[in-house]
Subunit: 651 residues, 2 copies
Amino acid sequence: MKALISPKLVAALLLGLLAGTVVFGFLLGPVVQGAATSPSQYQRPYPMPNQFYKQTEEFYVFASGGQQGGMYVYGVPSMKYLSEIPIFVEDQAWGWVAEDPKIRQMLTNPWTGELITRGDTHHPSASKTNGVYDGRWVFVNDKQHARIGRVDLDTFRTGQILWIPNTTGGVHGFNVGPDTKLAVQNFEHEQYPEKAIRDHLGLAIDPIKGPYVAGVAGIRIADDGTMSNGWQVWGPWQFDMARIGWGDSSGWLMTTAYNTERATDAVGMFQRDQDYLFFWNLASIEKAIADKKYVTTEQAPDVPVVSWKDVEVYVTPIPLNPHGLDISPTGKYFLTSGKATTLIAAVDIEKVLLAIKDQKVIGEEFGVKILDPDFVRAATMDLGMGPTHIEFDDKGYAYVGFFVDSDIKKVALGGPYVKLHGQQDKVWKVVDVLPAHYSVGHLVVPGGDTAKPYGKYIISMNKLTKDTFLNHGPLESENHELFTIGQTPAKLVDQMPLGPETHYSQAIPVSLIQGKTKHSYSEAAAAVGQQPSVEYDYAAKEVRVTMSVVRSFFTPGILTVPQGWMVKAKLISGETAMDISHGFALDSYNVSVSLDPGEVRDIEFVADKAGVHWYYCIWFCSELHMEMRGRMVVIPQSEWTPDKETKLPSA
Amino acid sequence: MKALISPKLVAALLLGLLAGTVVFGFLLGPVVQGAATSPSQYQRPYPMPNQFYKQTEEFYVFASGGQQGGMYVYGVPSMKYLSEIPIFVEDQAWGWVAEDPKIRQMLTNPWTGELITRGDTHHPSASKTNGVYDGRWVFVNDKQHARIGRVDLDTFRTGQILWIPNTTGGVHGFNVGPDTKLAVQNFEHEQYPEKAIRDHLGLAIDPIKGPYVAGVAGIRIADDGTMSNGWQVWGPWQFDMARIGWGDSSGWLMTTAYNTERATDAVGMFQRDQDYLFFWNLASIEKAIADKKYVTTEQAPDVPVVSWKDVEVYVTPIPLNPHGLDISPTGKYFLTSGKATTLIAAVDIEKVLLAIKDQKVIGEEFGVKILDPDFVRAATMDLGMGPTHIEFDDKGYAYVGFFVDSDIKKVALGGPYVKLHGQQDKVWKVVDVLPAHYSVGHLVVPGGDTAKPYGKYIISMNKLTKDTFLNHGPLESENHELFTIGQTPAKLVDQMPLGPETHYSQAIPVSLIQGKTKHSYSEAAAAVGQQPSVEYDYAAKEVRVTMSVVRSFFTPGILTVPQGWMVKAKLISGETAMDISHGFALDSYNVSVSLDPGEVRDIEFVADKAGVHWYYCIWFCSELHMEMRGRMVVIPQSEWTPDKETKLPSA
């Protein structure tokens, strides 16, 4: 466990650089690969046949969008942007707007009643069965507001948003377990929680000076995908990355903390030589709850909050300010990268369990036993500057991204993985270097975080692109680079500019999703019999409308409303044909929804502006699209008389 | 002027189809081109060299986003999504949020004070000098709220949003003139305007039954790109597409109306055999204003509103319910497509001027003389079902998109264009058919709406994709298809899935933009000397903060605030290096802005939630990105004492 460069020295170097304006990526010039021109399967044919991309895609990629607030979807190997899935942020483009009361409720903080339209999606984690993707859902978290979204892969739309209580946000690592029963959400930003939690932890906390505390939230997932807040376990530290174990590590939850210093500023967070990897025994958390060793809070009276003191938890030191925490396919090795060092630690769960059994401890902190790192580690690799995340392939290799070095290093795993790659002499050593343009933040191998990596490709989600693509102002694109890794050396296949800012991706085989996706909703069929209608409720000052929407008519095509009344409209798409979407945008009002084939949507708004306002279809749905419009006539209350009510012929 | 199919019959057929669920595109099966495999410049090399796309792009494409509310940017021929430019709709991904007071003001209706976060961008129109793109700005309109945005091509950000008065929205055709002095915005949706306008027009209008009226807004553009409302001319009809003439048609404004029936429902809008193309003499509008023949309204006392009766205006009949209105490169021919027919009319401006001079009229309506169509037309072409828009290349050809036929027809222009293509025997005839997948709405040839088309490519912006790409739920992608048109037949080069929903694009040569784009803002340099500071204003209940943001620190790193106070923060990026963006997201608050290199941004919000809330960087800006955070501690007013104020060392 000897580093060639002292971790402290690297941290000091990094901090020093930050004071100036030197850009890390510039330290090494870009490595330009030669342009071979021999044809391959990755070249597009010319001329292009229709459906070429549909027929040649192998993986869907679901990439978190960071401040985009949802996820991007694209195809591999085409590297073609396909779609976006809005989750935590209103997005009119994709019909995700708060004038739909169902969406408004999802976006509303259940404790403050505030509509939240900012978010920061971080870690997508797909549903799994026996540790392998099953193509049902992708879950993803919102760092800013401590929310979890569930995206349903039959519709590619968000089906649920779960709000996590007892936190003011700033969460980070999120992971769904191997059988989609449990997910965990770490609290990265240190908290000053409600008094019940403070008292239960028994730690002195000054609201301004700290040191603060944090927790890990356990989220239960029902068979139909419904999430609920299960439990929280809190302790003296913040928690960053999270992984629920499988295989060799079944029953354990692993988390990291980069601020074991319990500091409140960046410099303070780098004071120690090493930070911690945590091992939580999941059964011990359930037992503490069964034994009633918990408190609840005013905000969440149904969610048990457990103290770290009442559960079985161990730590082991890992390189300073860990970033990635990733588990090898059999669940055996935990690779953690010390981002302020050049080091990657490979911790062996079998040795961890032995260390627990045999009490191979070197001390304790806040009552938590510190397992001997020399005993539990399979290796400590000194690989380069700025290690970030790690993924695994199907051939016994790990891939480590380096932000500062701007590359990915391919490492041969030891132990049982030697039989896959057969390179006994290369174990825990670099066997290939993949140059990236530039500054690798995250990376993904299809299935690379599961028990069954599909391998073949790796995508480098680069944080900086600088001059890689056409310039388009001070805000540059991101860059997703696709490499083939079936051979050594890996080869750069394609580059893909993308929007802000992906923090991780899940690449899922097309075969698990294609064919299950819906082409239309069945809701309209269920709404059959709901004829168009208009109802005036003078007591509630409400107009309730059931509106049929089908090429190329809105029915009713006119709607008179007394000014200031609430309009509650149920829009029913009568379309059953693939790809025939409509919309309802209302001139001069802050109202615009889309309506996909067969979809039924409620919208609500106050008719506060008098005059003629047309509602019109926002999708070019037929040759008569422009004429597909109706008018809402809002009449000042002083001029309103009941004979001005809209009457339908059928009424 | 004889149609093979009666226009009325086609309209009836279309309306009939609409009543069922038959999809037009299905009427003809897709035409699948053979897949040749010979290499060409359009194939990506493998392995991919870095900067391949940057070095091989020929055009930037700026595509309106429809309900996306801004524009998409991509490259040709790579067909790679590059970026998005938010305009009319909040978009946190790209830092376009209302907590920035400058943006809030742009998005706020100046007459109602309402923050508008819905929009529907339609017709991008680039700045031009002598009728040719000059790479300064792209202007684009919002159909829903009658707004014009100006995107500055040095920053790829919106510099101004102009709100158009006297309308409840529902505008459509928008066009910037050949020297970027004047733009026009047509009002598509019929209006019930303020009394001053109704009286001035002297037409009977029932607020519920109509028939309504509409206008054309003239927008003046200053040398620095600043837009202002210049004038409006109103008449008895709605106005759809708009083109300001150049070359042969200099001094004239052309508009179409598809609802010359003045109906209020779709069926009524198809009653006539033909609709109108309008010719407005621009000098006559200026003269009416100079002669004080106008009114103004309470809403816009500075904007003269002219009656159609006081200006020089003519119409000529064109095929029923026109969609496209496009001008050939020398300004001579106006091609209009009757979307409820199979007909394209080519009107010759020289004959129009002759008809005006020689009074070749066949009647008048509302006092407007109707020019003899047999006299003014160069040709009437019967080309296919569902004609939409028309573009031109540099070799004397026009390209007409067909929604129902799902193809683009290439037509040889007559007159002076014969010398370009040399096909005298093919004049006004189809010389090539480009199959599209499916349903062509809009199309663009680089420079195809200017005096200097660049040709070489055409992009078909298809409205339906059905099963072209991987399925991803009921809402399918759009499809932009790139064809090469330098040879006959044209060849499909690439397909590109894209988000909702483009209504037109401008394809501008890379050479006009690249090199002028900024990599950082100079604002921070101007803010030098503004040291970080915190100021508590007990009278205003405001905390004013000047905050430095530079890798990897926010200064101040702590901010104490009495609960309920306003926080006004000026964020100053100290970065000068390319691509180093930061952000400021605030845990649990609806606040998240990005901060590009050298940018200075103001944000304002009320600190209404007590407790510790971390602000953190949302861009992975360095290896110490996670630690780049500070905390806002909001203290209940009852617990606040001045000694809790944040004090900076330098203060």
